[in-house]
Amino acid sequence: MRQRPLSPHMTIYRMTRYSLLSSILNRATGIGLSLGLIALVYWLTSLARGAHAYVQAQAVLASLPLKVFYALLLAAFSYHLVAGIRHLVWDTGHGMERAQSQKSAWLVIVVALLLAAALIACAFRAREGV
């Protein structure tokens, strides 16, 4: 096949500017949340199968690796929610200037980190097991 000109690709952008990283993180957290959806539905189906099945599922759902997964999930949720709202604001045509998007990128990461910290603290303090 003939070599065709390519549009600028990932390697030429500077990640230090953060703006690009914020976009990639949104994808990565989205994929993570898709995995979370599987966990949620597994939880729901184990409940629907009755008390006995639920107790069995709890052995898996309350295991340490999954607790780590829930913490990551809450962080991914925080980021995807805040970054997603930024995307929705962009869709109205606002905040697209370079300086504005740099600023909002930092705002997103700060708000997402605070939200993630609050949610994780709440999840692991309220009771034993998420």
Binding site: R27, G30, I31, L33, S34, L37, I38, L40, V41, L44, T45, L47, A48, R49, G50, A51, Y54, V55, Q58, L74, F77, L81, G84, I85, H87, L88, D91, L119, C122, A123, A126, R127, G129, V130
Partner: protein, 128 residues
């Protein structure tokens, strides 16, 4: 002057108005998921305990069950659209891409149906 080719005109081909459909549905589901997902996370974190009886009685509420079904369906749809874009962007082999997109579509339908059915079974059938 029309920019459409004579062949396109005679075949009735051209913009069907569906070019932005994927983009638009992704936005609509995103907007719906803002309140739904916040509601779910806050609800789960404020449940007093995670034992069977507590959760089932919480899920038995009409509004809780309805919102849960809405959340499962909307999240499955939004997730399918997102995974589709990721596969289209990063999987360059045509065969592999087609298989991946199909597997993703099937899995998301299974997730949506299984999740909704589970919520309804808990809420209506109350397996207590």
């Amino acid at each position: 002057m029309s920019m459409r080719s004579p062949l396109g005109r005679v075949l009735g081909l051209g913009a069907a108005g569906s070019g932005v459909h994927h983009w638009w549905v992704q936005r609509v589901t995103a907007v719906a998921l803002v309140p739904l997902s916040i509601w779910l996370v806050v609800s789960l974190l404020s449940l007093p305990s995670l034992d069977f009886v507590t959760i089932v009685s919480w899920m038995g509420g009409t509004w809780t069950a309805s919102l849960l079904v809405l959340l499962v369906l909307t999240a499955s749809w939004h997730s399918q659209l997102g995974i589709q874009v990721v596969l289209e962007d990063y999987v360059h082999d045509h065969g592999l891409k087609a298989v991946g997109l199909m597997l993703s579509a099937f899995s998301h339908v299974v997730i949506a149906v299984a999740g909704s059915f589970a919520v309804l079974r808990i809420a209506i059938g109350s397996p207590l």
